[in-house]
């Protein structure tokens, strides 16, 4: 499934709802699907808020793939080069001294198995991978 989305928060949530419908149709376990929707929300929000500056005239793409053994989410945007995988690991501690801006990437790492970034044809490409449990 491929989605072309405008650079707005509403479009981020349209992508999230599409993933929820996609995951339910593929019988993805609820816990895994929750984590993936959270990861997609964080990554797409980052694109909209930073790369696209919430400009509805700009667009980004989300592609969902299910192989039976894994699910992958690919995000493509034409913003300036930004590799979120280079963000320091952090410990996610929500103490009052820490700016909470790093929580997003921390949650993405927790809920996915692989996070792969590349720059292709002047576009940021971020792939989120999650292995699925084998059928009983």
């Amino acid at each position: 499934m491929k989605l072309e989305l405008k650079g707005t928060p509403g479009e981020v949530m349209r992508a999230v709802e599409s993933l929820q419908e996609f995951g339910e149709a593929k019988a993805i376990p609820a816990g895994i699907l929750f984590g993936l929707t959270l990861a997609l929300e964080e990554c797409a929000s980052n694109i909209v808020n930073h790369a696209l500056q919430r400009d509805p005239a700009q667009t980004f793409e989300v592609t969902l793939e299910h192989t039976g053994e894994a699910i992958s989410i690919e995000l493509r945007d034409s913003g300036i080069a930004f590799d979120p995988t280079l963000a320091p690991p952090g410990d996610g501690v929500a103490d009052d001294e820490e700016e909470p801006g790093g929580w997003g990437i921390f949650l993405v790492r927790k809920y996915t198995d692989n996070l792969i970034y590349s720059r292709e044809g002047g576009r940021n490409v971020l792939r989120l991978m999650k292995s699925l449990p084998l059928p009983a």
Partner: protein, 132 residues
């Protein structure tokens, strides 16, 4: 999924009361600004404590966590606390991942929260009366 926000005063006066914020739906990049806006007048008159009833909250992202963080910080400066009741398992997991549980109150029910508030008010009153 939209976010439904209900704010009710559960104890005390209108100016210094204890308020409960009941959230239903999704607290995300689209809806977090709505919650922040709704909380502004509540934070001005809620005193030291604010309770969030999350029984109906299905989804939360870092945008929503930032709103809770802001509330927690402001209440802590007043000597109070943000409290959360009836979290669904997936929301509890997100709180646990970012280690947001220390420093906030977690209660299983509104009755448990009310008991906590009553006990704290007794301690304050006893202190004012010179009792320990």
């Amino acid at each position: 999924m939209p976010l439904d926000i209900q704010i009710v005063r559960t104890a005390g006066s209108d100016q210094t009361g204890v308020y409960t914020v009941k959230l239903t739906g999704s607290l995300d990049t689209l809806t977090a600004p709505d919650l922040e806006k709704e909380l502004t007048p509540v934070m001005a008159r809620c005193g030291k404590d604010l309770m969030f009833d999350l029984a109906g909250l299905k989804f939360i992202s870092s945008a929503g966590l930032r709103v809770f963080s802001m509330v927690r910080k402001q209440l802590k400066e007043r000597g109070g606390m943000a409290s959360f009741i009836s979290l669904q398992p997936q929301i509890t997991e997100v709180f646990a991942i970012i280690k947001a549980l220390p420093g906030v109150g977690m209660f299983t029910s509104e009755a448990e929260f009310d008991s906590y508030i009553a006990a704290r008010q007794r301690i304050v009153q006893n202190g004012q009366n010179g009792q320990v």
